[in-house]
Amino acid sequence: MMTDPGTTPSQTVGPFLSIGMEWLHDPYVVPKGTPGAFWIRGLLVDGAGTPVPDGIVETWQADPQGRFDHPDDPRGAVARTDGFRGFARSMTNAAGEWGVFTVRPGSLPALDGGTEAPHLDVTVMARGMLQRVVTRIYFAGDDRNAADPALSTVDPSRRATLIAQPADDGYRFDIYLQGDSETAFFAV
């Protein structure tokens, strides 16, 4: 039985989210032209296989050294001078496409003493969704995936839904809200 912590409940972003959120639509985690930077692109797809045109994808990640500019990181905050933001917001377009321009984050020390493989945390919201869903993007071919404590809790048959695959200008990561290919989502 969960105690009621008294938090404010979530509600849907509704169909008109773009008027409130488009102003901060900025897919650039790192500035254009950053050496080694690439796109992660994908579709947001509903249970009928239809792309979602009224959705939003936000990502948050460590820098390539696995550090954050944040006071709660016990290793210390790393102040930014290089334009690295860690954050990106991409509103889906009419075809349900989204994308973020970024660099691969470093690995992170994990709570259990192990190591978290490079990953992005992802928030997905849309009309029809009464709260956000959260997933993670990992990178195909990264040796560190095998020992990642979060990835290893996911049913092996579904781990592939969390791994971005190489594409022409970076990586491909489609998000399926339902269906045979339903993306593995996390309770955060």
């Binding site: 008294g6 409940p9 409130g20 249970g47 948050w60 020390p109 029809g128 989502f185």
Partner: protein, 241 residues
């Protein structure tokens, strides 16, 4: 290597609407059908972006001063604090807000119901909370509007709020409602929140003391994000270390 000690954010899943809420018809194809996997709060989850300081302009919290003239409608002030569930304020955090105009129409290409647009109202604002988590918007009271969820469906007047908090775990998008709205009972979005106490927390309060004489009615609304379990709840299963 020293053991990593991080804040642990309270899990409040029971407060929020189920993603599968059949009365809200649009949810049918947009909720995960497979169980969610519990994600421990590591470094990515307990950190988050500090947004807004560069982007938010001085007048962005006043939706009545974005055009040549004032918008039509009841001028209101919406103010309050952003707190966490431990009672601590959440300072310096971005709030985004959007809403319909007084006639219940959004300035959005897909909103085509026959209520007039107001050339003096965009319906979009933002602000950053102060050092005590306080925020203040000046706007007009939004109207109710019909939608096609069920026969004779109307959304109660509401304002959309988007918050980041200080960590990825605290991200919240919600809607603020107005007291004693007769449309609550038929609204599947409002009623998707399972607990009546939770529903009450989405409703602002009319605040006569803060109402500005001969200027604007004030509504007060505090927004509560997840805290870090600084004091474990009694009966909480915290015996794992």
């Amino acid at each position: 290597m020293t053991h990593l000690i991080l804040p642990r954010y309270v899990r409040d899943d029971g407060v929020h609407p189920p993603l599968n809420s059949p009365d809200y018809r649009s949810s049918a194809l947009r909720y995960p059908k497979k169980p969610l996997q519990l994600l421990p709060h590591g470094l990515t989850e307990i950190t988050g972006p500090a947004l807004g300081h560069q982007q938010v302009g001085e007048l962005d919290n006043d939706l009545t001063r974005q055009h040549e003239a004032e918008p039509i409608g009841q001028r209101i002030i919406v103010q309050g604090r952003v707190l966490d569930s431990d009672g601590r304020s959440v300072p310096d955090t971005l709030i985004e807000l959007w809403q319909a105009n007084a006639g219940g129409r959004y300035r959005h290409v897909r909103d085509t119901w026959p209520a007039p647009l107001d050339p003096n109202f965009t319906g979009v604002g933002r602000t950053v909370t102060d050092s005590e988590g306080r925020f203040r918007f000046v706007t007009i009271k939004p109207g109710a509007y019909p939608w096609k969820n069920h026969h004779n469906a109307w959304r109660p007047a509401h304002i959309h709020f988007s918050l980041f908090g200080r960590a990825f775990t605290q991200r919240l998008v919600t809607q603020m409602y107005f007291p004693e709205d007769p449309l609550f009972g038929q609204d599947p979005i409002f009623k998707s929140v399972p607990d009546p106490k939770g529903r009450q927390r989405m409703i602002c309060q009319f605040d006569l003391d803060s109402t500005e004489p001969e200027w604007a009615l004030t509504y007060t609304w505090d927004i509560v994000l997840r805290g870090t379990q600084a004091t474990p709840f009694e009966g909480d299963d915290n015996n794992d270390d």
